[in-house]
Symmetry: D2
Subunit: 407 residues, 4 copies
Amino acid sequence: MPETLISVDLSKPAEDQDAPLHNRWHPDIPAQVSVKPGDVFRLECKDWTDGQISDDDSANDIRDVRLERVHVLTGPVAVEGAEPGDLLKVDLLDVGPLQRDEWGFTGVFARENGGGFLTEHFPDALKAVWRFEGAYARSRHVPGVRFPGIIHPGLIGCAPSHDLLGTWNKREQALIDTDPGRVPALAQAPNPELAALGSLTGADFDRVAREGARTVPPREHGGNCDIKNLSRGSTVYLPVYVDGANLSIGDLHFSQGDGEITFCGAIEMAGYVDMSVELIKGGVAKYGIVNPIFKPSPLEPHFDDYLAFQGISVDEHTGEQLYLDAHVAYRRACLNAIEYLSRFGFTREQVYIILGTAPVEGRISGIVDTPNACCTVFIPTSIFDGDVNPGVGGIPTIGSGQVALAG
Amino acid sequence: MPETLISVDLSKPAEDQDAPLHNRWHPDIPAQVSVKPGDVFRLECKDWTDGQISDDDSANDIRDVRLERVHVLTGPVAVEGAEPGDLLKVDLLDVGPLQRDEWGFTGVFARENGGGFLTEHFPDALKAVWRFEGAYARSRHVPGVRFPGIIHPGLIGCAPSHDLLGTWNKREQALIDTDPGRVPALAQAPNPELAALGSLTGADFDRVAREGARTVPPREHGGNCDIKNLSRGSTVYLPVYVDGANLSIGDLHFSQGDGEITFCGAIEMAGYVDMSVELIKGGVAKYGIVNPIFKPSPLEPHFDDYLAFQGISVDEHTGEQLYLDAHVAYRRACLNAIEYLSRFGFTREQVYIILGTAPVEGRISGIVDTPNACCTVFIPTSIFDGDVNPGVGGIPTIGSGQVALAG
Amino acid sequence: MPETLISVDLSKPAEDQDAPLHNRWHPDIPAQVSVKPGDVFRLECKDWTDGQISDDDSANDIRDVRLERVHVLTGPVAVEGAEPGDLLKVDLLDVGPLQRDEWGFTGVFARENGGGFLTEHFPDALKAVWRFEGAYARSRHVPGVRFPGIIHPGLIGCAPSHDLLGTWNKREQALIDTDPGRVPALAQAPNPELAALGSLTGADFDRVAREGARTVPPREHGGNCDIKNLSRGSTVYLPVYVDGANLSIGDLHFSQGDGEITFCGAIEMAGYVDMSVELIKGGVAKYGIVNPIFKPSPLEPHFDDYLAFQGISVDEHTGEQLYLDAHVAYRRACLNAIEYLSRFGFTREQVYIILGTAPVEGRISGIVDTPNACCTVFIPTSIFDGDVNPGVGGIPTIGSGQVALAG
Amino acid sequence: MPETLISVDLSKPAEDQDAPLHNRWHPDIPAQVSVKPGDVFRLECKDWTDGQISDDDSANDIRDVRLERVHVLTGPVAVEGAEPGDLLKVDLLDVGPLQRDEWGFTGVFARENGGGFLTEHFPDALKAVWRFEGAYARSRHVPGVRFPGIIHPGLIGCAPSHDLLGTWNKREQALIDTDPGRVPALAQAPNPELAALGSLTGADFDRVAREGARTVPPREHGGNCDIKNLSRGSTVYLPVYVDGANLSIGDLHFSQGDGEITFCGAIEMAGYVDMSVELIKGGVAKYGIVNPIFKPSPLEPHFDDYLAFQGISVDEHTGEQLYLDAHVAYRRACLNAIEYLSRFGFTREQVYIILGTAPVEGRISGIVDTPNACCTVFIPTSIFDGDVNPGVGGIPTIGSGQVALAG
């Protein structure tokens, strides 16, 4: 069994852990542990909200979540010999829930609090709690579905350099400035509120809290890419920007659909990651790397029977024709899936949660046939407790109940 | 062997076929043949350009292609008993090249002539010719790769109603009107030039030629969705808008990557489709269908080892931060792949062609982590005649030569 | 399209083909064509019986089949530069039915005529005729099942040397001599009756007809190994025993279950093979090769949902405990599957045919747990027109009708 | 997290556990716990030898193992409402190592102590110790390979009735009587030595110890079937013979090749199983069940690139032709693989261990082509730290070192 380098105490906040967690990106957050290339080790992670969400039947905690707190990350891990320009190869040997805490949650944020992909259609806070039955997840809030997890970290990356951090903050502020009052916000600027910065204290803490980039968006270093295929058994190659690489990881998901459309939308959990690291010296220039590259895992659960929905880039409200807009085309594909599956006894909120959590695939199928992009969402049929294919007979009722609401 | 209902003569243009082809969408284009639910039958198709492209080493034909001619489609096929509101289930039992004509081509249009997904990076006409070696394709213009085809029709759909046709023409014209002189054009309005309309003649021909929608975009009926997974063995459920359904099919691809980013970018070919049809009466309202739904095939070639590239929605030229723009994120992922693979002896043009033709998967991985969309392109490593994984040693030279250019 | 080096005329017997076929193994049968390493070419093949079986509803032709005639093979193909001790790499680029003759048959021989794996349970001649619907096969004699073919040659190999041929004839005669009158026979000795020997004539013909090994068993050179996974897209490495290798191929199957338990039991057909060849000089000694090795194809249809049956090595008639007898264990697994599936409206004869033809997998699961071997047969559930899983409700009737009988 | 119904203390023998283990099959061994249909629960298991094997570099413990002690099983678990003739559906929701004890071992028994599949070729005791690196296993005794586990219980089944137990004992004794002094023995008769019988004591213990069937062979109830595909996520349907079913489980394997040819040959470990149970009342008669049936898991690691070896039923020592002997054909296939892979720097003992432990597939490919059975062993190539395909260049050295020996 790999040595556990960092463990977490789920009863304590980020700051009070033996190896305090952090929730901002900054080169000056000190490494908590150090490893050598070739080492195999285990890290434990808290859920991304630092434990704000409860295993209950109300979405009030989702509605009231403090997003200044996310994502609480484990690390940084220093890698001996790593220098800027290297490529850090990380083998994700295993990812799983903590055996002492096998449950997870999915949330849809209220529109005022960040919303989700379909926030115009689902403006209120929603929640589903999942129980892990071995390799499978079930929710009392979404009866009628069960699926095995493609377990993965939503977030992994190396610390940015000061230069890269500056680029991020500048370009994101420019976007925010185009519509500062927008709800939901276009992006989040650095914000000292609820910042956790590992073992930093004093003036360093204050400075880094003011400068540190928020963890929500994926960026050049990877970060919160929410790629479900960075799953147990996969390999990712991360650009290194600072001496020691300073690798951080967190936001573990028991399962997630492509796009994570419900935003807090994977099955969020605390858990562990077994990993090993290697260095490819000078790999960034050698291979012309801008963003991380990765190899998906041979261990992913595989499905052969899918029902797939198409969407095109025509706005669902106005009928306006958009130009090769893959965002809208994928939204339409998801809405088509929601409409269809809601005929099988599921509420529309439940299907929204299913699309966010189950191992669905989101594809950019056509992106050149002007003016329409065509996106598709593939849903494995075996996750349902009944037959969801179209047919000439009656439609079976598979779903029941409802997700947890705020109120 | 299924009965061949419509065969094509590759030496003759669309109009001179025994069952003349058509290249516009209109409810008044008469059916060429009629089938009953349950029938199993074969249709043959010309390549989408009606034979404008030659098996040679110059891209002049791509540069000079007359796009008013595309896509030449086989049909319409009338289905007995089909009525508006039905769902037409089509089993694509097999798709393949004509044994008498086993070759295909890939083109990148010049920017003035429609361009492609990366037209700002590749503004000139390019071409690659492919030879089919059994289930595999190879190109003398892209040495170093070989892959099995996920053979599929790029285009399938039922004729629109007059109402639906009106909606299409109106919304697309509105888009065109926002920037009528744009190069490439935002969309194509109806155009009688080079229209082929099956057996229509005289005044009917002239009217339909003026009204008929162009075939390039995917729309509510499916049409040119260019979904590679509508492959041999798959099933598609199409909305019916007119009595008899009037199903048309064409634009056969030996292989295509998700997105078909090179635009004329699959391996385009003439070929045959074996299919059977069934009706789900009233299926559109029953299941709330807007766009077609489908089931991918258990017969697709499968790959286990992929190298995947991430992209985020930051413009590659200006560094501008865009808001959850999946189009740009996928473009960046593709550009990252091109940069990487060009280190292995391929020209950038060759990699562009590979991404358009090989069985690559384009995923919308994250679409909620404001402000960045994260898209990924998965490339199967076994298509290369050498190891394309990152490593500590030298980079092997796998590619050579160059695609066909115009001039 | 690969050049067709040998085509067949289905209306003519083996001897009257332009490139006469052969049905014995002997080093002195002359090559019909010659190829160079790297060549890509097509060969056509007749069905293994040389056209003795008809597309009708009687098994009389199966009952009366002349097995001295089998297997009629295409070739030999000489490979330039091949020498004894080389390893011949053969890429099976494609395998398919002749588009002019898309049907196949499955037979169970009568016990007196060779029988099959379960001949004690099914002693009489049976037949099913299959229609190819694109990539799928259906039989009017086995309604209720449909499956895609894992198309492959049942037989491929290089000509033996004189020495190797002598070894074969000697060891097989020794087995025959242990029970010469057994029905069915333990093995077939050389037999000039109905021998086809390519272009050989006169005294050479008579000598080779007396000496030539029968083609039924797989042997060191491969030969009639009936491995369904030597399918389109696979690669096989064959030992070379004579100058020029003299490669022969035939016995094409549209589909077959592991074990080909019905003996004439795949879906037998005429067809074509696209292939290319390469040489690994001295490969036999280099790699210590005794029997061929191969790489299965990434193009195989894949199934994810199987129902699997166990069998152990206890005789079903006597209850006798046998010692790690995998033959008996697999027979019991097959009998268990037949008993089970016959509850779903299929006759036992139909299930026997299904196990012989459908893409079922036969596994040696345990072979050391004395005294019982444990073998398993995995049956993909999607081949049935209904749900064959065990459940608490009634058993659905999926099958109907009956196979063709003799009489 | 499922409730743990039975946990084990690895420092104590079977008898001293809180819920004492058992290592014989007998209807009178009392249930330890009781569950209801629909319950989801966890059971922990010791390794099959009850802890006789150590994590060291000597095979002395394998040589000296007391096989009268195997397999120590967890249970029996009584299922409320289960009656003879029912079918017990068991969902194996997860299987894994104990997080407090992540290692395993593989042994080859000496010929005098049971031997293995290739005991004539490998007559001495051998051992390899495996370390689990997340989802993967590595052994310091077999450098050069790494593979993900298809984790499964080697043994699962319900208690036999008195009648069935009598049948077992009678038929196995009859086999033993044909050659009582054979080394290795043909079968094991009941033996009170080292019997563990759960909570039985006194006269009941003595009687059951005299009568209880040994656990080595798979039988009608399943038992030690060693089917690697009964893995995490699979479902097995077990015949019920006694009131309450009395389900037992054990012999957990981190990984195993088809056939488990090294006998103690999987990666043997202690671990846990998460499961749920359901009843199909009267299912045995309803479906004509003799042996268990099962559904393999969609969660199995999948491999696409295999190197496969053929074997035929000709004895490797004498050259004797055997009649459709699948046991010998599989042995030849394995020996062919050993010969081949030993060219890549592995010792023959190491390859023997690899074939026993890695996710290799053993297929009965042809079983009717008299007189030769053809069996095949498929080895995934990605498990090796180098390229094991045949080629024209030099053979790379991938392996090194040697397994642990006795002495």
